[in-house]
Symmetry: C2
């Protein structure tokens, strides 16, 4: 290194990028109401080499004046128009051969955003994701689709796999499932999240009993609209905890975010 | 950015460093055998500005041809002469004001190494930590000492706090406690690790019963040496699991390491 000048050193020193895996629960457009939803993620089509024309996770070089969390939030804003209900650092990927050009170390975040059919009336409630962003190079795909499984640029398929593992883990041990829903949800909707994320059927009565014993779960006094016979109760979490304890270091941390806190 | 030349851009683009928080369980030199051990970490005295003369976590700029995990292993080798029994990525710290000079994004790992008084006979068994490295700028400190709490360079005290939180979490939910011990340990030694890490007393009989029901715990058929009356049995874990599932991405991952795997 010592024989190189500044620009030569810059050329070989790794670049820092921030990318974000953004999960949402939704049904395919036009699908019947009783179709089980799937996990979807937004991807961005690359307009430059390498991997020009292929889909990749939303992300880009870290701005000189941008904290890591701000960069992740920017990924979200530009691809979904949404603020996350959950945003957490996932992992730093820094292998030597991740990019065919200059070496890139990617600090990856993962986020949960509410689905298109939540029971809330907020500004983004029920907005089909892609309609918020009119960009032909941004699109949503089921996480188990071919576009994700076989056609992602770089090592992004491995990153998505790791984010999925983290999501399953959090759903099993934490209370993040409801963050894929609106602020108000039925017990069956929460079970549906668990079933989709964990890829398994759960016994409704047993799940219902366990969920009802969760601290913080509260009835809203309201019922689901548009159901003719015995409309189910809507619940909410009084204290949306399970915040990942975040390092308090200067802006490095992100945590569980209330909607609107990034706007 | 577009009006800057390469070296100007390099000057403002963040630098990547890798640092490692290395925990070990030990007694102060010369302390009586019945003194409870404490958690210690090695620190490196800075020989350059900023923070010249202050102690900091072992670490440095990421080498151009160095994976993140290799950089973390190098931190360990140069400060402890040891290979870790556990090495995992902790968090990427990327706040704007972490360093008074050029912005640095630090990808931090955390590691567990065996204590100086383990029951094993391997090459590094029982080696008092600092004696392996003869460097006046490397020293070990109790993690709750003033040098750590009040005098660390940069935001390293916050990083240590976060690593401690992660360690407590892992000890509570996982099976990493024995990695602070040798391959063979008594049940009382495992309880001692829990007590030190969690900062609380545990009921011996209850703990013993719970630990004995852990899958993978096995008697070695040996007993602790140097105890006159009823020497306690030595145990080991047959399958040292609780490997953090690591992203499979090209060299980005580290995981639970068998001793020797980095040599």
């Amino acid at each position: 290194m010592e024989f190189l000048n500044v620009s030569e050193r810059a050329a070989i020193s790794p670049e820092i990028a921030v990318s974000t895996v953004i999960f949402s629960l939704r049904r395919a457009p036009g699908a019947a109401d009783d179709t089980p939803p799937r996990l979807w993620i937004p991807l961005v089509r690359r307009t430059r080499q390498p991997y020009r024309g292929q889909w990749a996770l939303p992300g880009g070089p870290l701005g000189a004046q941008q904290s890591l969390a701000a960069a992740a939030a920017e990924n979200l804003r530009t691809t979904t128009g949404l603020v996350p209900r959950y945003l957490e650092q996932l992992y730093a990927f820094g292998g030597l051969d991740r990019s065919p050009a200059r070496r890139v170390v990617s600090i990856v975040y993962w986020a949960l955003v509410r689905g298109a059919d939540s029971n809330d009336d907020g500004p983004d409630a029920g907005a089909p994701h892609s309609e918020l962003i009119e960009d032909p190079n941004v699109a949503w795909f089921p996480v188990d689709s071919d576009e994700v499984r076989a056609q992602l640029a770089f090592d992004h398929v491995e990153i998505v796999e790791y984010a999925l593992w983290r999501l399953r883990n959090k759903v099993t041990y934490g209370k993040v499932a409801h963050r894929l829903l609106g602020d108000r949800f039925t017990l069956a909707q929460v079970r549906e999240v668990y079933e989709v994320v964990l890829g398994t059927r759960l016994d409704p009565a047993n799940f219902r009993r366990q969920l009802l014993s969760s601290p913080g779960l509260a009835e809203t006094g309201e019922h689901l609209h548009g159901v003719k016979h015995r409309p189910p109760k809507l619940y909410r979490f009084e204290d949306p905890v399970d915040t990942p304890p975040s390092p308090a270091a200067h802006g490095a941390a992100t945590a569980s975010l209330q909607e609107g806190s990034l706007t």
